[in-house]
Structures are given as C-alpha cells and as structure tokens.
Symmetry: C2
C-alpha cells in the first residue's frame, strides 16, 4: 500500500456499505469492484444484502429482502449490481420500488466520451443528466376503462419539480458546471410539463452565475445525439430523462461503462446503467466499469473524495494503457484483452497514478462535506384558494352508432339542477356540440359538466353520478374541475 | 414540356389540391414547390386556403379557416406550409387539431441520408417512422387537482393500436420494406404500452414475409442515433414517435429536407417537418425541400406516381450537382449557392433526369391504385364481460403531517357497507397499510376501495362519495376498477 493510500485510510473513519450483487454478471463485477474499493480505501466495510432473483424466488414480489430495507435505513447508501425482473406474475422492478419507496427523487447519469480509447460518436462529451425519479407516467397507475380504452396517469407535482430542479442547479454549482438545460414538451402538455418549465425558470433566477435554457424534448434529444457539446447539465422529467440518458450514453459510446446514482434526502443508491447480461454470466469476461463508476460516485457522496479520485484516475489510465475487457477491445487501440478479475487487478496496480491523455479527475477536498449529499428541502407549501367549478365524467358508451348528438341530448336532460353540460370530447377532441363528422370515436367519452351559478355544494357530484347511473349510463371515472386563485386548473378541449 | 411529361398529364385526369401556405417562410417555399408541381404535372390545380396567423388574427383559436375545413372535406388532401402557434391566449396547435379532428391517425416520417452531398452522421440511412397521431398524452386532457399535483391522461385504445400497427405493416408491404420494429416502454407501462405491444405481436403474425421485433423505447432511440441501419420501418406511440423521429431526422442530417404525411381514412395532410423560421422569411433563402418532399408523398398518395418519381429524381440530381440553398451549402461539396426560387428552377430544369450517385427512386405503376391510401378498417369490436370490482378515490388531503395511518383509519370507518379499504398510495407508492416512513408524500392520495363480496350495485360509488364528503374529505377524482373476462383491469401499487 502506498503512503498516499495510508493517508486516506487514516483520514477517514470506518464506513459500512450495504452491497447487493444482483443477478447475471452482478456477482463477478461486484467482486471486482469491491476488490478495487478495498485497495483504495481499507476503512470501507461491506455488508451483503439480498435483491433480485433470490428475493423473488423467496416469494417477495418486490424483489427486495427485508435485510436490504434494514441496511439502507441504517447506513443510508447501497451499492447495487444489475437485477433481472421476471416477466409477468406481478413481479415489480426492484429499481423503481427502491427509488420511489425511499424517496430517491434524483437520478444522475454522467455521460462521458473516452475517445479514442473507447469508440465514441463524439470525441469530446461530458454531460450530466439529472432525471426526476418518482413522478410522471412511471407512477404506474393504470386502468382499463372500457372494451377499447386503457389509461395511465401522468402525475407531476410542484414540490417534485422544485426538488429536482434545485438539485440540478446545486449539483452544477458544487461541481463547477456552467449551464443547466431544462427539457419538456410544454407546448403540448401545458399544465404538467408547464409546471416543470415554470419552476425551472423560477429557480434559475436564484443562480445568476449558471447559464440556463429550455428546449422541447424532441429537438433536445435530437441535438443530444448530434451536438452533445451544446450541453452541460440537463434536467428533465422521468420518462424524457429515461430516453435522453440512453441516447447520451450511447453516442458517448460508454453505455457499458456508465454509472448512475439515485439520491434522496435520507438515502442514496449507486448502480451501473447496463443490465444483468445473463448470457455472459460466470465467464469472467464482463466489464465491471459501470459498477465501478457508480462506486466512485458513492465515495464522493460519502465525502471520501481522495479515494474516489484515486480510483477514477487509475481506471482512466488503465483504459489509456489499452488494457480492455472484451466488450471494448479493438485491434489497433487495445493492447491486451483482460478478464473481469484481471482488469480489476490492472486498476489496483495503477492506484495513485494519473492518466496522461484523458483528463485526470479531481474531487477537491473543499467539496468533501455534508453538502455532497445536496440535502434539498422543498419550499414551504403555498395555499391557493381552490374552487370547485365542475366535473369531467367519463362514460363508457357504445350505442346509437356512437353518435355524440344522441349522447349529448341525453346528458343535457340530467345535468341539472346543479350543472350544465359544457361539451363532450372523444380522445380529447370536441365532438359535442358541433363536432366534425370525420372524428373517429372510441367507446370512451369525456363529458364536461360546469356548475351552474355559484352553487359550490360538495355533494353535487355524487348526485350527478346517481342521476347518470339511473339513466343506465356507465360512468367509469371522474375528474373534478377547479379554479386555483381564480385561474382555470384544467385544459381546454381540442377543437373547443 | 418533354414528351414524357405530356404522357403523364394525358394519363391522369385533373386533380385539385387545397394548399395552405402558412407563416414565416411558408409562402415562398410553397410558391417554389407549386412551380415544380405545375411543371411536372400540369393537370394539378391548387386552391389556396387559410391556416395559421391569418386565421388566429381573425379570432379563430384553432388557427383553421372554415374554407380549409370545407376544402379538405371536398378534396380529401391538403398541402400545408409551416404554421406559427401564438403563445398563450388559448390558441391551439393547427397541426394537432387538424390531425385529431379529421382522424388522421398515422404520421409518416421518412428519414434518409443524402451523404456526402448533405452532411450526415450516417452515410447510409433509410428509415420510415410511423407514429401514432391521435392518442397518448397528446390528447391534451390535463387537470390540476390540488395545491401540488397536476395530471395529464395518457389514453391508448385497442382500435387505435390496431389501425397504426396495421398501417405500418401495409406500408412496409406496399413499399417493399423488409422489417417493422415496434417501440414501447411496456416494462413500466404494462397496460397502455402493453396493449400496443400485444396488438403488434398479433398483427405481425399476419405478415410472415416481413420481419418484426420489439425494443424498449429508451434503448431503441439510442440505437436510432448510433446504428440507424438496424431499422427499416418503426411503429410507435405518439410521444415516443415525436422524439424518435426528430432523432432520426437529425442524425440523417435531413431535418430541414424532410417531408411528412398525416393519413386518415377520409383525408390526408402533407407538410414539412421544419418550422416557419420567421427570422429568414421573405429573403428568398429558405430551402423548399421539406415541403417538396411532402408534395412527392402526396402525389404518391394520389396515385400520381410518375410525376412523384420525376420530381424526386430531379431533386436528388440537383443535390448531387451541388446546387444548394444556404442551409446546406458547404465549401468543397456545393458548387453554387442558390436562392429559394433559383433552387426550384434548377429542379424544374432536371425534370426527367435521374441522379447518378444517390439511388434513383422508383414509384412503380402497380402500386398506383386505391391501395396507395391504405384504407385500414379496424377489426370488429370484441365484447368482454366487464365487472365492477371497486374504485380508486383520489383525495386532496393535507392534515396530520400527512401521516397515511391517520387517513387510513378514517377511511376504514366509512368504506362499508359496500367496500373495504384495500390500500392507499402516494404517487403510486403504497403508504397504507404498512408503508415505509421514508416515502415522500404529496397532498394527493389514491385510496383503493374494493367491493365487498359480489355486490355489484352501480350506485355504490355515488354512496361512497357521499360518505367521504360527509367526513369533510375532499375527493378530487375517481377511477373505477374493473375486471374484463375475469382479468384484472388495473395495475398494482408499487410496494404492494
């Protein structure tokens, strides 16, 4: 052990990290990664916990052992290998459940080019994608409502937007990044994506030293593929971030080498981006770099910056030296093809050295403090005046050749005394009154009832539902309509 | 006029096409495009109609003049320039409204590389993206439900999936394409994206001569950026298709040159992919190629294949000859920088000639028939047995430090007699019974009530809502829970 390493181990007290090896290549890349961690920072202790197939097979649909929940609660972090989710049978994704149950709202995905040592479409690329991790259509709330119609809820909350946007700016500040770009589709989803964009603009004002801009996600993702150097830190919603971060990693050429972190206020999870690759398991050929990069992010999170920098630089030098696992081995660039274990040994041999061509990383000690965890508190909740102004009742209706005039006339009669029928839409398009004949209609009708006058009787909706049911009409869902501080809290119909 | 052109014009009878010039560079690129169409097919007639700023300014929030609705109804097609949607003020997107109101369910986006004449990241690329055009979160149904929570509905219908998937396979068959790839995120959205994938698998069986596969949209989009040659025809949902087609066009290098079509059973709209670029309007420097490519797709749709091929090949030859508008002009590749009008004249001069290096296109006469319109009828509706088994009631609740135990105990008392409380989730994560303390809760709670026993009283939900209201609890929405033919029609909670 070098003098420098001695210094690190003296400096920091012991620290215990729960590790979940996962499935497929998980155990062997975890073993390789832990061997490097032990060599760089002897005061680390590791406690194995259960996730993935072993947990599923023991009957836990979540794929998460009780020991895992307890260890994360106690130690506040987990280093996790890739996990396989069995198809069907009600099995839930380990990652989604851990992220959401433990409030790990921020998913960080650094996407870096290591050209020319690893094939990349872009020779310079160093982007960090900050993806919201808990909301959006990934809440998994789905309902089948009729013979034809399936629905998923996209939920976006103001505190959720505030947390992730502030995290992105704080991350940029802490790591010396220059620009934060927000991506949404708020030209279409004016309320859900609109609130994300609005919160971004509000919070950006608090960081005058960091540039900011907004792009529509379609062209933003396209530009990430063609001109990633336009970007520094990008913050976006869950689904867009999922797609965008895969595009960024792919054009960087480093999807197999990329780490990621999932960060909340009370705990954080570090995991590789790639899957469990069962076809190459137990062959000592898998590349442990993704998990190792995640472990480096974890060390920074824990304030063990010196060890993090040491490992990161040794890994870069190993790449430069052409010592490559099979997945990135290329004639002319690589010098030797190494197995998983041998690759880890090559990194251990280089601990304390720096890369010559690829820029050496530096995790300055001044960032080594509690701020590393970027504990973001939400703003105090505001209190708007919420006023009920009506209700959208969704009917499953398949009569009279789906002629909206027929349905409209029937509903006009039963809307009163509390409500009047404002319009009917089908898949968001107005079909009553005065629809277009060409509109293709499903068996699922959104019927908008507005409260007549200032009657704000909270029982009105239950009464309306009773009248609808009495007419043998089949109401499958309701969405109340509110104004907030006098501003309409619901979208207009297409064609309205 | 050459003998060949005479032949075309004799062969096909006159045909009238409504044309909407649009805003910004719209009028000048439309003029250039029509000059080429007139030269290639003198039996075409054009009737100008109103969309965009002119319509918005006359007070039409839809941006669509009555003359436009009438002309599309009469002629079944429209050629449209780019349109600007004013921000705010309730203005609706012309494109979305036209597509949805007129049932134009299929959006076709060919993405082709013209390397080395136009800069591209991939020298060979010829992909067609078939994007569903009417459903998904683009139905624009949004509701704000509490101080914190905004919601958008994602709607997917089985007939919608059947139409677009069948269109993709029929298109592949008609145009000699070899493979259709489906992209969804059905590992997360098992019901909405699940039905799209399921219908794809069903319909693929009917086309044994065409290869098919499915990819998750995140890695699929990434691969489109890095290896577009893996793809031929891709079919996907509205939002994914929006992002994917921009990525594909961008890496092809042809976003400014790309046409698109929007096709329904009774009409079709053809438009460039790019925007109205007001900053360069009226300067005779805009590139009319995107609109021209759309016009070529329109001619094929109308069965005027000979004229379509003639224009397409003359345009390819003009690119090859290095006669370029400013946007694609590059020293060393281009020979002359042309204005909008002069570029159109160069194409007209080359009508009847074929490109030497870029592959000449061929629109065979045998495809010139009614089938060009690919009039897809939905399958007959099935009839499942739908059984009400419960209801998800969503509450806006912000008391008792948002402790789910407190809410759960209150609801247990009022669930009966019809229902029992099954669980409470917050943003999809189970928080009652037996939630995790770390779960971050918003002011928006999904409370799942299951019908107790076999009681299928349709009034039960109205009664439950009344009891909830009597407790001064604020129910903001409901989603009924159904089984269809005994199969559960709603998702489980995360952590359930």
């Amino acid at each position: 052990m070098s003098a420098q390493l001695q210094e690190v181990s003296h400096y920091l007290s012991a620290c215990t990290i729960p590790v979940a090896a996962g499935d497929g290549i998980g155990p062997e890349i975890m073993e390789a990664t832990l061997s490097i961690l032990r060599a760089a920072d002897p005061n680390l202790r590791f406690v194995p916990v259960t996730v993935g197939l072993k947990a599923y097979e023991s009957g836990l649909l979540s794929g998460i052992g009780e020991d895992t929940w307890a260890a994360i609660k106690k130690h506040g972090v987990i280093l996790k290998g890739p996990v396989m989710t069995p198809q069907g049978g009600g099995y839930k994704s380990v990652n989604v459940t851990l992220r959401k149950t433990l409030g790990m709202y921020a998913n960080l995905r650094p996407c870096t080019s290591y050209a020319p040592y690893v094939t990349s479409m872009h020779h310079k690329m160093d982007v960090v994608i900050v993806r919201e991790n808990e909301e959006d259509t990934y809440a998994g709330i789905e309902h089948r409502q009729s013979e034809e119609v399936y629905q998923c809820l996209k939920l976006v909350t103001r505190p959720g937007c505030e947390r992730i946007v502030r995290y992105a700016f704080e991350y940029a500040k802490l790591h010396g990044r220059k620009k934060v770009t927000c991506m949404t589709k708020d030209n279409i989803m004016k309320m859900t994506d609109g609130i994300f964009h609005k919160v971004f603009d509000e919070i950006a004002l608090e960081y005058p030293d960091i540039q900011n801009n907004h792009m529509i996600i379609d062209i933003g993702t396209a530009r990430m593929a063609s001109r990633p150097n336009d970007f520094d830190v990008v913050v976006t919603t869950n689904l867009y971030g999922d797609i965008l971060s895969d595009v960024a990693a792919e054009v960087a050429g480093s999807i197999g080498l990329a780490g990621s972190s999932n960060v909340g206020n009370t705990c954080a999870m570090f995991e590789a981006v790639h899957g469990s690759a069962p076809d190459i398991a137990d062959m000592n050929i898998a590349n442990p770099s993704g998990l190792l990069q995640s472990a480096v992010m974890m060390l920074v999170h824990l304030g063990r910056n010196a060890a993090a920098g040491k490992i990161h630089n040794a890994w870069l030098l190993t790449l430069e030296d052409g010592l490559h696992t099979a997945d990135i081995y290329r004639d002319g660039i690589s010098t030797r093809k190494l197995g998983t274990r041998e690759f880890a040994e090559a990194i251990i041999e280089r601990l304390g050295q720096k890369p010559r061509k690829l820029g050496a990383v530096d995790y300055p000690e001044q960032t080594r403090n509690q701020n590393n965890r970027l504990n973001i508190s939400p703003l105090p909740t505001r209190k708007s005046v919420k006023k009920l102004v009506g209700v959208d009742v969704f009917l499953n209706w398949d009569k009279d050749e789906r002629n909206p005039e027929s349905l409209g006339q029937q509903l006009e009669k039963i809307a009163g005394p509390e409500f009047c029928l404002s319009l009917i839409t089908n898949r968001g398009v107005k079909v009553y009154p005065q629809g277009k004949l060409q509109t293709v209609c499903t068996d699922h009708w959104r019927c908008r009832f507005l409260l007549d006058g200032n009657d704000n009787n909270p029982h009105a909706i239950a009464h309306l539902l009773s009248r609808i049911t009495n007419e043998s009409l089949d109401a499958v869902k309701t969405e109340n309509l509110y104004d907030f501080d006098g501003v309409r809290g619901y979208s207009q119909a297409q064609g309205e």
